[in-house]
């Protein structure tokens, strides 16, 4: 029983991270019907900026004296940086193709993904970069379950970001503009919404969430690699499809399910640990085969963003 609880906590942590990345896919899909393959690389860029900032702050001794401040600072800076990076990517690679076929934009996204990944490799090297993790040690036992402060931190940040995103999308002017643009670009222009700006904002928000996820994955696993965006990116995409692509709530649920399944499968299926990456794709194939609109998909046209 303790073992199960332990795995559930682990699954929740991982699932939250997938959910954050999945939101970027689903929001962009909702608004311009594009699978943004470069999204995984934005996530990796966030992880890298995190390691650079945290290592620097650690070398200055700041992480020993003010660890939480340092983490928050790195998070906010990385989110801002990735938001700008994604807006630049959108401007260069997608916006000029707004009137072209969806396939052209998709290919452009694939190209962008390769470009960004190789950019990371050239500037940061091909080897793993270790996260400074001294300040992440510690934790507590609760009902026989070992919970690290790191997990608590990741869960708290994930929950906070999900709540903020929900507020933003469903309670504010920007969110209304995003929902309106997702449904009908011509009509939203006619009620005074500048769709290019809204699309750009959508990329920025998705990227900020991915950057936060990148840092948290780096902290959780202790290192980052130039190609770290690929597999989590595809898994998050699977999560978005599972939830019903285009649907924000669906992406959150899909992320949690994929994270849980991956951890539980690794824990309970013999040799499951070695095949843990397989399960997300099994789910992806299963969803595409049996319910292509996903969990929340029946109203995919209505509530997408």
């Amino acid at each position: 029983m303790d073992y199960l609880f332990q795995q559930l906590i682990n699954g929740l942590t991982l699932g939250g991270v997938y959910a954050l990345v999945a939101l970027g896919y689903t929001m962009v899909y909702g608004i311009i019907q594009l699978i943004n393959f470069a999204h995984g690389e934005i996530f990796a860029a966030g992880g890298y900026l995190g390691v650079i900032l945290l290592s620097y702050m650690a070398s200055q001794g700041l992480m020993d004296s003010h660890p939480w401040f340092g983490l928050a600072f790195a998070l906010i800076l990385a989110m801002g940086y990735c938001a700008m990076l994604a807006m630049a990517v959108e401007k260069v690679a997608y916006k000029p193709l707004r009137q072209s076929s969806r396939l052209s934009v998709l290919l452009s996204a694939l190209g962008m993904s390769i470009f960004l990944q190789n950019g990371l490799m050239l500037t940061q090297g091909v080897y793993d970069k270790a996260y400074p993790t001294e300040f992440t040690h510690g934790g507590f036992e609760w009902l026989g379950v070992r919970v690290s402060y790191m997990q608590i931190g990741i869960l708290a940040v994930t929950a906070l970001l999900l709540v903020l995103l929900n507020t933003l999308v469903f309670k504010t002017r920007i969110g209304k503009a995003m929902r309106a643009t997702a449904q009908d670009k011509v009509m939203s222009a006619l009620v005074g919404i500048h769709s290019d700006k809204v699309i750009s904002t959508t990329f920025a928000i998705g990227a900020a969430l991915a950057a936060a996820a990148g840092i948290m994955v780096g902290l959780y696993y202790g290192s980052v690699r130039y190609d770290m965006g690929f597999v989590p990116g595809i898994k998050a995409f699977a999560a978005a499809v599972l939830g019903g692509i285009g649907n924000i709530t669906g992406a959150m649920i899909g992320g949690l399910i994929i994270g849980m399944v991956e951890i539980l499968a690794a824990a309970y299926i013999p040799a499951g640990g070695e095949y843990k990456d397989v399960f997300a794709f099994v789910i992806l194939i299963g969803v595409l085969y049996f319910m292509p609109t996903g969990i929340m998909g029946e109203n995919v046209d209505d509530t997408r963003v």
């Binding site: 920007i174 005074g192 919404i193």
Partner: protein
């Protein structure tokens, strides 16, 4: 007061000449109707004024400034709002949200402010909500503010389109067949509403097939046929104009 003026406006789609040198204006305080047989170019004119179509000749001016060539959201910001012939609401949003979204161009707060819920963002959101409720109240939909748009009955969806257009505080409103599908009593309410809109100082340009609505509310009527403006004047004049009768009924030699 706002003055909308079309001068020699032409539009063609490939080889199809949709509008040929159409000129008319909408003076402050006026209700003007655009009529004509199907395919005459009425909706095209709306799309030209609101910036959805590019014109191939002529000028559209508003308040003395050229607006042809501007993007739709800029034209809305200048004060021209419209409704659609086939209702185009944001179906998943509530009635109130549909109206609130129309105030986008009149408000400022950005992503950061929205996430942090700054005081000025909250105040702005509250003001937008109040203005939205006022617009719903104006069309008699205040009781349905929280209803999801797609669940509203057809007649109320039509009114919501008008409320959404009014939500942006326009100085001119373009109504594209607002009476389509309404029963006679709903049509009467609509006429009364159009007159109330005009009284608040908003100019109204109306495309309508329901002649009782057109003849009752319009100060002037502009008649189009095959993209050409064949006649304009007071409703009574237009009704007895031989060119108009020919356009609608065909000439006697046919």
């Amino acid at each position: 007061m706002a003055h909308l003026c079309l001068t020699d406006v032409s539009v063609h789609f490939g080889g199809l000449q949709a509008l040929t040198e159409v000129s008319f204006d909408l003076r402050p305080g006026e209700i003007v109707s655009l009529i004509g047989p199907n395919g005459a170019g009425k909706t095209t004119i709306f799309n030209v004024i609101t910036g959805v179509y590019k014109i191939s000749g002529g000028v559209v001016a508003y308040d003395g400034q050229t607006i042809s060539g501007l993007r739709p959201h800029h034209i809305l910001a200048r004060g021209i709002a419209r409704t659609f012939q086939n209702i185009r609401l944001f179906t998943a949003m509530t009635a109130l949200e549909n109206v609130m979204v129309a105030r986008h161009c009149r408000t400022r707060s950005g992503v950061i402010g929205s996430v942090l819920r700054t005081g000025c963002q909250r105040a702005e959101e509250r003001a937008v909500r109040e203005r939205g409720m006022a617009a719903l109240d104006f069309v008699g939909l205040a009781a349905h503010a929280d209803a999801v748009a797609k669940n509203l009955p057809y007649g109320l969806q039509r009114r919501l389109e008008i409320a959404r257009a009014l939500g942006s505080d326009p100085t001119t409103i373009l109504l594209d067949e607002p009476a389509a599908g309404l029963n006679p009593s709903e049509s009467r309410e609509l006429m009364e509403m159009i007159q109330r809109i005009a009284k608040t100082g908003v100019n109204v340009l109306l495309v309508e097939h329901d002649m009782s609505v057109v003849m009752n509310v319009s100060h002037r009527v502009v008649v189009l046929d095959h993209g050409v403006c064949i006649c304009q004047g007071a409703p009574a004049e237009v009704r007895s104009n031989p060119a108009v009768i020919e356009a609608y009924l065909g000439s006697e030699t046919d």
